[in-house]
Every structure is written in C-alpha cells, then in structure tokens.
Amino acid sequence: MSSTTITPLGTFRNETPYPFCPGCGHGPILDRLNEALVRLELDPRRVVLVSDIGCSGLSDQYFATSAFHGLHGRSVTYATGIKLARPELTVVVLMGDGGTGIGGHHLINAARRNIGITVLVFNNFNFGMTGGQHSTTTPLGALTSTTPLGNLERPLDICGTVAANGAAYVCRATSFDGDLADRIAEAIRRPGFALLDVWELCTAYFLPANRWSKKSLEATLGELDFATGVLRDEPVGEYAAAYRERAAGLATGGRDELEALEPRFSARLDRKISVTLGGSAGAKVGSAARLAARAAVLSGLWAAERSDYPVTVKSGYSVSELILAPEPIDHAGAERPDVIGLLSAEGLRKARPLLARMDERGRVFTLPRLGPVETRSAVETLDLGAQVPRTGVALAFVAALFKRLGCFPPEAFAAAASLLPDSYRREGERAVAAGLEAA
C-alpha cells in the first residue's frame, strides 16, 4: 500500500446534494459526520463508509471517501471484514434503525468482539424508505403503516444492548445536539467498537403519523428512562489488533507438512479388499483403522478409510470401513465387506446387515465377550488377554486381525504405531505389541 502525506481536507463531502425529504434528520447527521471527519484530519483514502439499506443507506454517495453499500442489516459484517483485512482503515457504518433489527445479531457480536468500527445509527423510529413501517425502535403506542392498533412492542434499547455486551464506546444523542460532531469524532478515535444511537425525525412518515416533533422525541427519551450522552467509554482491546498481536507470537511458517509415508515393507495382496470395523464411539475404532491404513501404505499398498458415526461423538456406534488395494483406490467403498471386525455389542448391531450379505468366503473377527455371531462366514475369536487397557483394545484387536490376514508384515504395524501422536504413542505401541502377540 502506498503512503502519502495527509493534507487536511475542508470537506469529505462531494458536490451532490442530499436526496432526503425536507426536514429529514439524515442530512444534519451526515453534516456532523463530515465535520467530525474533517476535524480528525483523516486521509480520505483511509476512510470507508459502509452504508446499510434504507434512506440512510443512500448516505455514502454524498461523500468523497471510499464506500461500501451492501445488504440490509449486514453492514456490520462487511465492515468487520474490511477492518480485519486492513486494520489501518477507519471504518464507519451508517445504519438505520431498520438495520439494527434485521442485523441485530451482528451488532451484538461486533460489540462482544470489539471490532474497531464505528456504527452510526440513524434512528427515526420507522422504515423511511419502504413506507413508514414500524421498526425495533418504534415507541409504544406509535402509529405506523404496520401498527394500525398502535405499536404493541417495546422499543429496543440499542445502546443498552451493545453496552451490556462489551462495546468500548456507546453514546445516545439526537440530531439536534450541538456537540454531535464532537461525539462522532470521539467515537471514531476510539480503537474498539463504538456506537452512536442518534435519534431523529422522519418527516415523511413518522412525524405526520404521530404528530411528532423534537419535543416528543425528548419526551419519549424521558418516558423510556433512556439516558443520553456518553453511556460507556472503556479502553477495551480491539479485536483486529489483538488477533495480530497474538498471531505475531506464534511460530511462523508453522504449516504442518503432510505426514510422509515412504513404502518400505512388502505387502501380500493381489486384489482390493474391504475390512469393516464395528465398535462403539469413543473407543478409538477410527484411530485403529487409520493405524492399519498407514501400515498398509508403509507396505506399498493403497488404503482408504471411511467412517460412519451418528452425530454424537462419544456415544452410539462407530463404524470404520477400510479398503486396501494393490493400486490406487478410486472408490472408497465396497458392496460387501470381505472381513468384519466386531469390537462391541453396538458395533455388532450396526454390522448385522453387512454380516448377512457376507458368504463363506468372508472372515469375521470378534471378541470373546460378544458371544456367538450369526454368519455364514468363518468366525475367529481374538483373545487379547487381560493386559490390554480399555483404550488400547481397538488398536490391539486390529493389529491381531491384520496379523492373521497377513496382507502386510507385523513390522509395518509397529512402524505405523511409531507415527501416533506423542500423547498417545507409548500406550498405542504397547497395545499394538499386545495385539500382535495375541494373534
């Protein structure tokens, strides 16, 4: 990015006059915004106005700054993206009270996150652009084109909401306030999330429908017991800066390399086979399957592993389907398994339809405690002995199963076990050794 010397500008406005109805509050607020920008002596190329939708959403077109005019209610999300990508930019959101309704979720989360943007709410208590419908801020009892009975919904306390959720700077003001430009400048200067809820009049709809005036605006503030002025001003850490600070503390270039598997054992397998393991979630069935797959790859085979599990992770069944082949595997599935390994009653239940599909050529491996298995295939019971801890059963079982199948040498299994994560390696190696021995 290029840097230039900053020449203070006389105005950030362009030549185009505002398009608003006579007496609309939007124009005066934008004038105060302009004054604030001038006062801050910002470089216009470093300022992005992000406008929401509505009459207030037209605002960016009257400024010579950069501008982003997106979707209704989503202005805060674009502003967040801009700030995260280019933290040096000054990002100001211009949003109607309509935007605070449809995009309220983003507002709350931007406040919580304390992303360094300034949100200016043009709060005229109704949707001006679409014909004076009620908004989240319409006062109780007010008449709008969609509250023919008088508004029955309590108005949203925008300031209270963002303040309660950690916003760095919160201010409630009216478009008539003499110090509005100061408050806007102050808000922009704050590094964290800042919001100004500026109350104003929609002369086309809300004002005539409710015979409103500046006085009624002030009276409503009183009735709601809504304080004005700066309601919160805390030095809270800004998100984009905090992210970069934390990131700078990490080891760089730390992209994990893909694990290298150099075939160095020889395999005995002349066709694609499928080995399905049926067990319980949380019992390391998948880890055991992947360990066997690595052992196969270390033996020059091609291996694929597909898992099937319910949405929960630590309960229910866990099924892993292993495909081993002497050539690359394009389809990681099989119509019927050649081999099934049963590790738990849940696994057995899930495997029953597969067992039914297998014939005399199939092989089924099971544990003593699962009892007899109904199948046409040959059943072999693997007795792992009492030594193997519960968490090692799957690994030991799979090691024993593959030793019996003999498609790759037991040393390949031990070599694959040495690739287990540090936290689990010793235990895993022991389980594999026990399994190989038990086979």
Partner: protein, 372 residues
C-alpha cells in the same frame, strides 16, 4: 512418497498455496474441518481466520475482506449455502472474487449431517435472485480437491465472481492414499490467470464494455474514493436506474462468464471407439465410475466415460463431443437427476438414463455395471 489424507486437508493446502489470507466460516458438518484447519493455519501464515456469528456474517466478512485486498474463502454445507444466498448475489453484483466451498450433505433442511449427497448442484447455480452466472468446480479425488481449489482462486480473481468448489461429505472426510505430488505446490508454469489486483482508473471501479471483459480491481486503502454497491450502478458505482446503463451492467455480468464458457471447461474425457454407452458423472460418484470403467473394459465391454470438473458454466462443447458417438447415456449422481437435466438439454437422439441414489450411500461400481 505417499500421504494418507482427505479432501478437507487438500482444500486447505490448496487454499494456502493459492495465497488465501482470509477465511470466515460457521461450523457445520461436514465442512467444519476446513474451518478448524484454516483457523489454525492462517494466523501462522500472516492471514486472518475467524468463526463468524452465523453464515450470513461469514460470507459478509469475506466480501468485505476481499474488497480490501484479501484472497478470501468460506466453507459450509447446504444449510449454510441457504444463508449465503443473498450475499452470493451481492458478490456477483459487486464483482467480488470469492471462493465458496460447499461440502454437500444429504438434504433438504438439516437432512443428514454426516451423510453424503450431491443435491446442491442446481442450487449453487441458481442460489441467488436474478439468475446471473457463477462458476462451480467439482473435484472427484483428493488430488483434484487440491488442484481445483487452486483453480478456484485463480478463476475467482480472473473473473471477479464467486467460484464454488462443490465437494461432499465422503470426498472431504474419507482418508485415502495419494502420491506426494498430488498435493504439492505447483511450479510457476502451472499457475494460471494473471492477478487482476491492479488499480482501477481513479473513481471508476467498474467497466461494462467490452461486456465480456473483467475490469481490473482496486482495493480499499489503495486508491482514494473506491466505491462498491449492491444496487444497480454505473461504472463509478453510483446507484442508477438509467435503463441503458443497467442493461449494460447486467449484460456484462452474464457475458464475462458466458463468453469464456469454453475456456472454463474442465473435464476428463475417456472415450472408447465403438462404445455405445457413455457414463457421465462428477465428484465422489466419478471415483466409482473410474473403477467401473476398468472393470467393464477388463470384462471386454466397450464403455466411454466423462468426468465433469466444471459444472457451471455447463461444459457444453465437451458434453456435445462426448455425446456424439453414444446411443445410451447414463448420468450418475447422488440426487434425483439434477445434472441429467443439463445433459438432456444437449442430447439429440441419445437415450439419457439417470443413475441416482438418495439414501445416504454411495453409487458403487457395481451399479454402473448394472445400469448399462
């Protein structure tokens, strides 16, 4: 040397190798591994990765970041694409380069979170109002997940348009063995597409003529007074209803993709002389098709096969070429015949048959062999 890995990891590596430096997403099975891996990698690579409050915010942040010079990506599954919808239109309208990964699961609605499906094929094409074109690529192997992610970033930049990478639960989460070269940095010659991040003429971020040309793109912070809008706009990005300008804008949004339709075609064409049957597939289903082709030929049967990597725009000249000699065409997909519609549109005298599955299982080689 070989790796034992999966599509999610290949996509993450492809993204990083493409210079992806911004990712925002919202957790959803089966796309979450991409979110988790990139949120781990990006701060180490000088980029930014964030879990947004919802999918609308995720894509919104990506759009804002892309307009600020980032190479942005997001990833989700069908329910999330639904929430992206309005912003997909914004990215089309504002000509924003953006990569969107859709790891398909079985729908509709919450559907099968851990179940494979290919039901978003027409959805990604027509997923926003107005009907304007996007680009969608569908890898059919882990290696293609890597290569097409790289291609997606290139195309997004070159065409200033959202590019979808359409994968699925099985492709992303099934571990498989690959040769080391399949997920490696390509050499300079393999990188295609000139970066278009050059400053646009001052105050004119858009250009509608020639209609098929993509204007250079400037970013916030680099030029003064850069404007962006999702409303119909003139070349300076000021809102307009001027009929002539609006028409030029809309024709440009269409032409900049359509005029390059042929150049965008990516497909693996495996035609056998004399074969009367043509199998067509894409994504995970094409893997089974490749196995079926080998089995059929080993059994002495003549068979032709077409794997589509570009789904949108429809690779019409490749399809017409492949359809040419066939009498029977089988279109295999994990939905009830969405892409078959496109094939039927192009078929003249051929019989077009659907091979479909929507029970959460994969179409296997045996089903191909039975179908023809």
């Amino acid at each position: 040397m070989r790796h034992f890995t999966n599509g999610s990891t290949a996509i993450v590596r492809g993204a990083l190798a493409s210079g992806c430096d911004f990712f925002a997403g919202y957790p959803i099975t089966p796309a979450s591994p991409i979110l988790m891996q990139l949120l781990h990698e990006l701060p180490r690579a000088g980029g930014v990765g964030i879990q947004a409050e919802d999918e609308i915010a995720a894509i919104g942040m990506c759009i804002g970041a892309a307009m600020s010079g980032a190479r942005a990506m997001t990833a989700t599954s069908g329910p999330g694409i639904s929430l992206y919808s309005e912003n997909i239109g914004l990215a089309i309208m504002g000509e924003v380069p953006l990569v969107i990964v859709d790891v398909q699961r079985l729908g509709p609605a919450t559907g099968g979170a851990t179940t494979v499906g290919q039901g978003d094929v027409q959805f990604v094409r027509w997923g926003t109002s107005g009907g304007y074109p996007i680009i969608a690529l569908a890898p059919s192997s882990i290696g293609e997940c890597y290569a097409l992610t790289r291609r997606a970033f290139d195309l997004a930049e070159r065409f200033r348009v959202p590019v979808f990478l359409l994968t699925d639960k099985e492709l992303n989460t099934t571990n498989n063995t690959i040769d080391a070269g399949e997920c490696a940095e390509p050499d300079a010659a393999a990188a295609h597409g000139a970066p278009i991040r050059e400053p646009a003429p001052a105050g004119e971020p858009y250009r509608y003529e020639p209609a098929a040309e993509v204007p250079p793109m400037a970013c916030y912070g680099d030029v003064p007074g850069l404007r962006f809008t999702g409303s119909t706009h003139d070349e300076r990005a000021f809102i307009t209803k001027d009929a002539e300008t609006v028409e030029r804008l809309n024709r440009h949004l269409e032409a900049k993709i359509e005029a390059h339709r042929t150049a965008l075609e990516l497909a693996t064409v495996d035609l056998e002389p004399g074969a009367e049957t043509l199998w067509i597939s894409y994504g995970v289903t094409a893997g089974a098709m490749r196995e079926a082709v080998r089995a059929a030929r080993a059994a002495g049967r003549k068979i032709s096969a077409l794997t589509l990597q570009t789904l949108w725009p429809v690779p019409e000249s490749t399809l017409r070429h492949a359809l040419g000699g066939a009498r029977r065409v089988v279109v295999a997909e994990l939905n009830l015949g969405q892409y078959r519609l496109e094939v039927e549109r192009l078929a003249r005298h051929q019989e077009v048959i659907g091979l479909n599955r929507v029970d959460g299982g994969l179409i296997g080689p045996d089903q191909f062999l039975e179908a023809a």
